[in-house]
Amino acid sequence: MNLGVGSVVKNMSGASCSVSWKSNDNNQFPAGLRVLVVDDDPTCLRILEKMLRNCHYEVTKSNRAEIALSLLRENRNGFDIVISDVHMPDMDGFKLLEHVGLEMDLPVIMMSADDSKDVVMKGVTHGACDYLIKPVRIEALKNIWQHVIRKKKHEWKDKDFDQSATAEEGDRQQKPSEDVDYSSSANEGGNWKSSKRRKEEEDETEERDDSSSLKKPRVVWSVELHQQFVQAVNQLGIDKAVPKKILELMNVPGLTRENVASHLQKYRLYLRRLSGVSQHPSGLNNSFMGHPEATYGMSSFNGLELQALAATGQLPAQSLATLQAAALGRSATKGATLSMPLVDQRNIFSFENPKLRFPEGQQQLNNSNKQINLLHGIPTTMEPKQLADLHQSSQSFGAMNMQGNSRVQQNNALLMHMPQQQPSRAQMLNETNNGSQVSRPPLTMSQQSLSSNGIPGALLSRSGGIVANVRGPVHSPVSQASPIVDFSLNQNTELQNNSFPLVRSNSGMSTMTSKRMLQEEVNSDIKRSRGFPSGYNMFDELHQQKSQDWGLSGVGSTFDAITGTLDVSPSMLVQQGISSMKRNGQNGSSPISNAFSSSREESGNVNPMGGNFLTVKAEQLPDASYQNNFFPDQFGQDDLMSALLKQQESVGPVESEFGFDGYALDNLPV
């Protein structure tokens, strides 16, 4: 079969696998389509596999959603489409769907023996591109390639709207040339050639070294852009916000209605998740609860949350920008990564305002940017008081105690700011996979107050955790995480640079790392926590900001807690931080790193901070999320933060383990 074809196809062009698949000989199309099928029922799984093989697709099967996710993360461009059962014991199919959509942006088909309307509707709302009722017939599988083409077309369209729109238009007129038996594919079948052609043209002009997951440039939802978007949405009212009106209100030249529509969709998903998450009680367990959502939320949210956080003054602008950048830049990882940070946040922040995600105290944040505005826009789902809390937290930033809440808030703020730097972000995102330093959006620590203040604690811990997890591209995750952490620890400057130095032990280290990452973003002088022997130092520095009381002391404890309890991610994170730090040339303090390394080993599979990390964590440790380890307090915005963090992380390493590519705000789950 077409395993041979598939592999040939892959080698053919060198371009992204998906592209190469498309470049396949027309006659063979859609042979070689790489399908990942997930079903806990061995009978169905075997049958599907055989059917798909008979359709000449390349099939990989898995009976566990987590395994499937890690497969996807490890092979970012290794699959074209995912088919998943709805009811699975280890993970809800819809969660998997969200993760895939956010992180990898692959089309996902849901299937179930359940054909009740509400389940099918759930599939639709979660973004499934199709829903098959079992028993699945081979005819239904024959046409699944249409979803791949359709998605690529849309992405291609959505990407940089500066792209030759004319070429697009021209091709679109082509009539279907393929003879499609099944109505569902009739529409797309004919256009696949044209879209393929178009895409190939586009690809030539597009940067090849774009995020690994997607070859097509996409609209980069910068912090500012996102802010404008949120403002427009709020102005219209979330219920009445339609893409056309939003577009008009935003008044951004070159932005298309489609760009806005897809962003809106993600935003909506994000909000939905937030509202679901915000109900979770504080506490570690909750972190996970909201986690899946948070994750999603984060991912999709990226910009939003980051900004919100930033706005609240909790996070330095940079961090938010960084986060956002991470989110935005990341083509593949959508938001999933963010979830991690949030999760962490939860733990970290057991603080006072766990829920504060978007504090109203934007002013603080705002120093540098209009992110604050974003906050306003964002919290449609957030409770106002949360925001207020967040705001306050930022105030007490200086304290840097890693108190759970404050920290979280901080982180949030940081996270929010992260995405400021879009351009650098995008780069970073791209690099994430490479694990090279996280070009990911360093936490823009434009806001002095933000950075160190609330977040440091949280960030630190978070990054620690996150970093630790990131095995692969150490840097990347760290950068992601560190920014957040950094902020908290290093005070503005510090934080800005570093990706999120989760304080934990990494604080010193992560700070450094993140610093590196954030360099571009760092407006202030971020003091590298070089030689930060322990996270605590970072906290001191962070103290400058007054965010909430982050209780650095808390951090320390967290750290302990983390190392103690963390068997996974936290250590990983730390590890990451450490690694990154080392990478940065600082070999400072490594007592922590040692600790982390060892813990890292244990964690083994913990996903790196990167997007994967977060995402994975969410799933794997629903309750165990490292957050718990770190900060027993609840995580008010944990989800948000985790998502943010994740995003950050994902930006970094992404690679293999975490498969996180980087965040693209575009991926904001809406």
Binding site: D41, T43, I47
Partner: protein
């Protein structure tokens, strides 16, 4: 050969009766169509997976219904799974039993659920028996040097 011919006829007749009596439905035919030279034992393989999985599910169901406090959600999850796998191989009567079963789960009707479990079990063993007979006939045909006819 005559023997082969006879065996083949017996096989076809048996197969038709299975469809006629509702033991198997079109999905089973789909499975047979999927079988090819690269996977000559595909149907047997899938059906074996089904048997294994089903027996586990039936045990789980029995245990779940014997609990002091019955977790109907869990019971429903098992039934749903059983429904999915039985429909995938075309075991129509088993699938129908599962549909009824799910209704009782929703109503949290223990008595109804117990009865449905018995019914599902019964149908399962019936179809298992039938399929094993079918495979035996196939083996006989192959042993006699013939090819297994394909029902259209």
């Amino acid at each position: 050969m005559e023997i082969v011919g006879k065996l083949q006829n017996r096989f076809m007749e048996f197969m038709r009766s299975l469809y006629r009596e509702g033991f198997l439905d079109d999905q089973f035919l789909q499975l047979q169509k999927l079988q090819d030279e690269s996977n000559p034992d595909f149907v047997v393989e899938v059906v074996s997976l089904f048997f294994e999985d089903s027996e586990k599910l039936l045990n789980n169901l029995a245990m779940a219904l014997q609990q002091q406090v019955v977790d109907y959600k869990q019971v429903d999850a098992h039934v749903h799974q059983f429904k999915g796998s039985s429909s995938s191989i075309g075991a129509q009567r088993v699938k129908n039993a599962c549909v009824a079963f799910r209704n009782f789960c929703e109503e949290k009707n223990l008595e109804g659920c117990m009865q449905c479990l018995q019914h599902a079990k019964h149908e399962y063993f019936l179809v298992k028996n039938k399929l094993e007979t079918l495979f035996r006939l196939e083996q006989q045909i192959l042993a006699a040097g013939g090819t297994v006819p394909v029902l259209s």
